[in-house]
Subunit: 156 residues, 2 copies
DNA sequence: TTGACATGGTTTCATTTGTAACTAATTTAA
DNA sequence: TTAAATTAGTTACAAATGAAACCATGTCAA
């Protein structure tokens, strides 16, 4: 009898394709890739740049740290995204008169054009991702993800 | 009247904190971090190394490309993970006699020890992540994630 | 055979990302 | 009023990741 290929009870408990965090990773990558394909192929934006744009939108004027708060990115990535967007001419910066450490950021005309060109396209991808799910299923999915996320944050 | 802060109908449609792919990313990062904390802090393993270990487990002897198939990693990352695990003494490699391009990989004794030390801990984290979700909710979550994932793969 | 193609795996290079240290401006408290 | 601590943001360095080129071996077809 070949005991080599028999799994003991303890080992049998671990099975990567059913391991929840593994499933989450595969899921995330599929989702993430389908969205980044849009802004990366059209305007060569990175995730951080796209998100910075998305937080600002056409009207907002925010400081870098306000972008940090609203985007769940860290300040280094925001700083880099700002640099990239400024180089591309999509974002402008004005130093705050009162607090000269702060700089107020807003999209330029051409940044706003890019924003208006991208949002319908990424929203369309969003809809395609959720295709086949009822409104209730969509809500359930988001609700359950948030619950898991809260558990994860509690673990830290 | 201050029109600056009024959003037109088209702009109002885009709101990052409700953008589904954004929610997925935040969710993924929370989950991912709580698991990698375990294997990274205990044995300094990278994600790829941990997954390679998890695919092999204590009994399997697989080639690098078989690991690729079962782990949804690409061959470059698998190759690097193998290198890392070999350097750490957790994995050994035997060149196949018939096809000398292939190498059969398996965990060493100490690799198996690490595996047996990690699996209960990561499984525990998995349970904590899913805490407060009923069995049915867990199944629903996984089912819905898979559905979205399939949509994403169709988009490529 | 032997030349073309396929396969298994590694290396190289460029980009991304994270951590920590840093500068500059501002606030606080002695 | 000035030294210490905070805050805003950047830079520097190291690790991780992806794409493409690259060997080495093996297969297949003329």
């Amino acid at each position: 009898m070949n005991t080599e290929n028999l799994k003991s009870d303890t080992d049998a408990e671990f099975d990567l394709p059913r391991f929840f965090p593994y499933l989450v990773r595969v899921y995330y990558r599929a989702v993430s890739e389908s969205v980044s394909a849009v802004y990366a192929s059209l305007y060569n934006l990175t995730v951080s740049e796209w998100r910075t744009m998305a937080v600002l939108g056409p009207y907002c004027a925010l400081s870098a740290s306000e972008i940090v708060e609203r985007s769940s990115m860290d300040k280094v990535n925001v700083s880099r995204a700002i640099k990239g967007l400024r180089n591309a001419g999509f974002l402008k910066r004005d130093i705050d008169g009162d607090d000269r450490r702060r700089a107020v950021l807003r999209l330029t005309e051409s940044g706003i054009d890019v924003f208006h060109s991208l949002t319908p396209k990424v929203s369309e991808v969003e809809q395609q991702l959720l295709e086949g799910l009822s409104e209730k299923e969509r809500q359930t999915l988001i609700y359950l993800m948030e619950k898991v996320q809260q558990n994860a944050e509690r673990l830290k």
